[in-house]
């Protein structure tokens, strides 16, 4: 994906160019996929027998959940890379990913609540997945808070990388704990994971939306990293010679 010939592109200057060329394509793909997914999910997919039209929320809820988890894994990946190879770009990638990940985690919770209210009568249920999602949201906030609080860029990146990795290791432990906690305490088996038996069309819509979100994320993160590169490398000659910086 973005790892072709990694070490060549590890230099901020090279990556700036590459990201600049790449992000528009991802943005276009994301838009097309989103249109396709939404059309399939909202115009074509049949009504659910049990949940009526309300089930259509899953076409944003599930992809958002997936993305919140994928992005955290990506953050952990770049963090390991950064601490191992001491590359500046890794810290920037992790930092660029965090806000989008937090946003998707929030969306997952928000849409989850809006789905739960009509279906199970409560705005919030301590379902294992929703609770784990909430904790994941806290982990994102922790990373953002920590990196924002440290002024020194290098220390900020490395501290952030460490907390991202520690968090990633804990996510399965937390998920297991919450799942156990949920099954023991919950009376009726209310579960937002029990999706309606999926018509194929529904599955396709979810997949399309998930891909759309994924490409959206890549496009946005590449764009953000360019901003970060400009900020951090502002004293480099190559920055001064960029077209867009000429007064």
């Amino acid at each position: 994906m973005k790892n072709i010939n990694w070490f060549h592109y590890a230099a901020p200057q090279t990556f700036y160019g590459l990201a600049g060329k790449a992000w528009p394509w991802f943005a276009v793909l994301a838009t097309l996929l989103m249109v396709a997914g939404l059309w399939l999910g909202f115009a074509v997919a049949p009504t659910d027998f049990q949940q009526g039209e309300g089930y259509r929320i899953i076409f944003v809820h599930v992809p958002a959940s997936w993305m919140s988890m994928v992005i955290y894994l990506a953050m952990a990946f770049w963090s390991v890379l950064g601490l191992t190879f001491n590359t500046r770009l890794s810290g920037m990638m992790t930092r660029a990913l965090a806000p989008t990940g937090a946003m998707f985690a929030f969306l997952s919770l928000w849409t989850g609540a809006l789905w739960g209210k009509p279906m199970w009568g409560a705005w919030w249920v301590w379902d294992a997945r929703l609770t784990s999602e909430l904790i994941l949201f806290f982990l994102y906030l922790g990373y953002i808070a920590l990196t924002s609080a440290i002024d020194d860029t290098r220390r900020s990146d490395r501290a952030g990388a460490l907390i991202a990795i520690v968090g990633a290791i804990n996510v399965p432990i937390i998920y297991f704990s919450v799942k156990w906690w949920n099954t023991l305490h919950q009376g009726a088996s209310v579960s937002l994971t029990k999706a309606p038996s999926m018509a194929e069309i529904m599955l396709w819509s979810m997949l399309l939306m998930a891909l759309a979100f994924w490409f959206y994320t890549i496009a946005l993160v590449l764009y953000r990293v360019r901003t970060l590169i400009l900020q951090r490398e502002s004293h480099a000659t190559w920055v001064h010679e960029l077209e867009e910086v000429k007064p």
Partner: protein, 63 residues
């Protein structure tokens, strides 16, 4: 096509608030994110442009 009319589509079988509340907030947040990223980029570019302008002034003007 599922829907017989636009009215039906917007009503979403009575779940309008929940469905459009979800889709709407999603669209809103995505848009805000994109806008914020572009805005941040513009700020940095303007800053760099200003620095370049100062750097290119003949030395006498700076004195």
């Amino acid at each position: 096509m599922r829907w017989n009319s636009w009215a039906e589509f917007w009503a979403m079988g009575g779940y309008a608030v929940y469905v459009w509340g979800s889709v709407g907030v999603t669209a809103l947040l995505l848009a805000v994110e994109v806008w914020q990223a572009r805005w941040a980029h513009r700020v940095v570019l303007n800053q760099l442009k200003a620095e370049q302008a100062v750097a290119q002034l003949p030395v006498e003007e700076l004195m």
